[in-house]
């Protein structure tokens, strides 16, 4: 792998960061999303609060339908006209939800970039609608997607032109530099390649290169390694950590894989049915998970490093968004549910070290297979 280029990381077109150290780069408060469906309005996100600090990797973890992708699509304003987004999204003191389309287009790519598991298809129908509606936005705004019909050089070059105002040889030089930075061997020779000529891991690197073209301060990575083999996943996660260090970027890593969170992230927010149920530092959450859902997820995991006698799955299934119970959404599956859990939603209680839990009956016992022991 070639050494990273030593170019200055500060962006001249960026407003000087107004925040003192310790201020979050991104503050999301009370974010709700409603979707217009044939059955009426359905709430997909029920008031999400989160902060992303400079240089932090935040893991957003949960099962399918938990709202982790919707949260990020809402932050990026990519959900399209059939979604109603309310709440606060403050990025560098700017309210992203209030920006006009032109300003928002500049923010996407230049300030906040996003990469996906697979740019073309998705398992989540909500995604697909969002993406279809916003196809043009995607193509214009350097949200990393690859088109099969154009060469790597052209696609990355276009993004460089849009975000950096470079043309001709300068754009080409910058393109090569970016491809080199993300670890693509012999980048000059790759410029004429099409995506189908590269492996999945290499295409993901190209997408990361496109995301980096505008030197974003926040990168949202939505399941970036889910479609990749483990040895390639390890390479991409290593790359993401290295880029965070080199470019002092903040990263939101969306994943369903708790092990990826444990190895990659600084902080983690666990989502269930459109809400964050527990958050804190990765060390705290994994050593001492309190929310029954977080605990259930950890107890469900088979382990590679030791033989586990039995898994302890969470009983039942995730309720559909239009069938959520009145109280805590996890109550029907929760082995520790109390009477009040049925009646109302537990509020998020914040403790020390940024640890927050939304549960009437948090647990402190060891996990059922002794997940904490070394």
């Amino acid at each position: 792998m070639v050494e990273p280029s030593g170019e200055p990381l500060l962006k001249s077109h960026l407003k000087p960061p107004g925040e003192a150290p310790g201020e979050p780069l991104l503050h999301v408060g009370g974010l709700t999303v409603d979707f217009d469906t044939p059955d009426g309005w359905i709430r997909g996100l029920h008031g999400v609060d989160l902060e992303v600090y400079p240089g932090e990797i935040l893991g957003l973890v949960g099962e399918s339908g938990s709202g982790k992708s919707v949260t990020c699509m809402a932050i990026m304003r990519l959900l399209g006209p059939r979604a109603r987004v309310q709440g606060d999204v403050l990025y560098c003191q700017q309210h992203l939800l209030d920006l006009d389309d032109k300003e928002m287009t500049r923010v996407r790519g230049a300030e906040v970039a996003m990469i996906f598991q697979d740019p073309i298809t998705s398992l989540n129908p909500v995604h697909t609608i969002g993406r279809q509606v916003n196809e043009s936005v995607f193509l214009n705004a350097a949200l990393s997607t690859l088109t099969p019909s154009q060469t790597i050089g052209k696609q990355v070059g276009d993004v460089v032109e849009q975000n950096r105002g470079l043309t001709g040889d300068a754009a080409r030089e910058e393109t090569v530099k970016l491809l080199d930075r993300v670890g693509i061997p012999k980048p000059t020779e790759r410029l004429k390649d099409y995506p189908h000529q590269l492996s999945g891991g290499m295409n993901q690197r190209v997408m990361i290169a496109m995301a980096l073209a505008g030197h974003p301060r926040l990168l949202i990575a939505d399941e970036p390694t889910t479609a990749l083999d483990v040895t390639i996943q390890a390479q991409i996660l290593e790359l993401i950590r290295r880029l965070r260090d080199e470019m002092s970027m903040s990263i939101i890593l969306i994943t369903h894989d708790l092990a990826v969170v444990a190895e990659t992230c600084d902080n983690v927010a666990v989502m269930y049915c459109g809400r964050i149920v527990e958050k804190g530092t990765v060390d705290d959450i994994f050593a001492d998970p309190r929310h029954p859902y977080t605990r259930g997820l950890l107890e469900s995991l088979p382990r590679i490093d030791r033989q586990v006698a039995k898994l302890y799955p969470i009983q039942g299934t995730v309720p559909a968004p239009h069938e959520l119970p009145t109280g805590c959404a996890f109550e029907p599956r929760c082995p520790y549910a109390l009477e009040q859990c049925k009646l109302k939603q537990p509020a998020m209680e914040t403790g020390e070290n940024g640890r927050a839990i939304a549960c009437f009956n948090p647990q402190v016992e060891d996990l059922q297979f002794g997940g904490g022991e070394k």
């Binding site: 099962e63 399918s64 061997p185 492996s199 891991g201 290499m202 083999d229 483990v230 040895t231 390639i232 996943q233 390890a234 390479q235 996660l237 290593e238 369903h256 894989d257 708790l258 092990a259 990826v260 969170v261 444990a262 190895e263 990659t264 990765v282 060390d283 994994f286 050593a287 259930g296 997820l297 950890l298 107890e299 469900s300 995991l301 088979p302 382990r303 590679i304 490093d305 033989q307 586990v308 039995k310 898994l311 302890y312 799955p313 969470i314 009983q315 299934t317 995730v318 997940g371 070394k374």
Partner: protein, 341 residues
């Protein structure tokens, strides 16, 4: 017979207990269309290139490897869904390669297959109970009322309740659908169950339910399984022995604990070290492999792993390492591990 299969036979236990499934030097090469020009030689993709393994009665053998390593083709070869280029498959002591379609029809009762995608495996227009009963009808087993009872009993035992029986696949969750697929595979009481990534499409909490169910059914029915997965954590949990494949060849085959606790092949070691563990700060030896696996159309000479191998020696490019016994039933195909380099 090669040294590999002899060693494995010994590891399997007493000679008189013949394994349920024996696979010998099985190969499948695909000629690629549109290559080689008018007179030229067509390019050949060696999806499975000479694999040998056995599965004993009641045993679960895991086959692991990254995409394109040939693990799914291996399973399909055993079931004759793909015809082998060469090699033998012996089931219950009888060679089954090259059997006629009608012989296969009766044999299919004994060997069942569970796919990754349950929705694709189920008929969208058939009620759950009818789908699970169908194999009994096809094989003309039991009277109609017996069939209904048997189906209901099995659906209960895979954890489905009465109210789901009359539903259609789209009305069920992913985990429930995979339970239906399992019930349909088990209704014929097969000797061998081949599972290809059976839980990969499921969420973690549901995945654990299905894994537990598989483990329970395995013990209760004394099932023999061939379990194909890219997820090594699941394989460790469920399999007795594990075969690791790389570019069409088995590079290591060993007892599960031996393989995971003391992997001998450099590829196995790299693969294991790449898997993240849900324990922050846990210091593990990391072997980050560079680059991608080479194309199976034009694999490297000698050892196929040598282009990415951290301990590669000159001999690795010259001779193909044989899968042979290292210790205690641990078969490894590596010149370096065997001290030959």
């Amino acid at each position: 017979m090669s040294a590999a299969s002899t060693g494995e036979r010994e590891a399997d236990g007493p000679e008189n207990r013949r394994p349920l499934l024996e696979v010998e030097d099985l190969q499948r090469h695909f000629k690629l269309r549109g290559t080689g020009g008018f007179f030229g030689k067509k390019a050949v993709l060696k999806a499975v290139d000479g694999i040998t393994f056995t599965v004993g009665k009641g045993e679960t053998l895991g086959i692991v490897g990254e995409s394109g390593c040939g693990k799914t083709t291996a399973a399909r070869l055993v079931l004759n869904m793909v015809t082998p280029t060469s090699g033998r498959v012996v089931f219950q002591g009888r060679e089954i390669t090259g059997l006629s379609p009608s012989d296969w029809r009766t044999l299919r009762r004994e060997m069942q297959y569970v796919f990754q995608d349950p929705l694709g495996a189920l008929d969208p227009r058939m009620r759950i109970i009818d789908q699970v009963t169908e194999p009994l009808l096809i094989h003309q087993i039991g009277a109609p009322s017996e069939r209904q009872d048997k189906t209901a009993e099995l659906l209960h035992s895979v954890g489905l309740q009465d109210h789901t029986f009359g539903r259609y696949p789209h009305e069920l969750s992913g985990g429930q659908r995979q339970r239906v697929v399992l019930a349909r595979a088990l209704i014929l009481e097969p000797q061998l169950l081949i599972c290809d990534e059976p839980v990969s499409a499921l969420d973690v909490s549901i995945q654990a339910q299905v894994i537990n169910l598989l483990g329970e059914l395995r013990h209760r029915l004394n099932l023999t399984m061939l379990f194909i997965s890219h997820d090594l954590s699941i394989v460790r949990h469920i399999c007795d022995r594990v075969a690791v494949m790389y570019l069409g060849k088995i590079v290591e085959l060993a007892d599960g604990n031996a393989l995971f606790d003391s992997p001998a092949h450099p590829y196995t070691r790299a693969l294991l070290s790449a898997i993240p563990v849900p324990e922050p700060g846990l210091k593990r030896e990391r072997m980050l492999l560079e680059g991608d696996p080479p194309s199976p159309i034009d694999p490297p000479s000698g050892c196929r792993f040598r282009t990415r191998c951290p301990v590669v020696k000159p001999v690795c490019g010259e001779r193909t390492p044989e899968l042979k016994l290292l210790k205690d039933g641990q078969l490894v195909a590596c010149h370096v591990s065997h001290g030959e380099a």
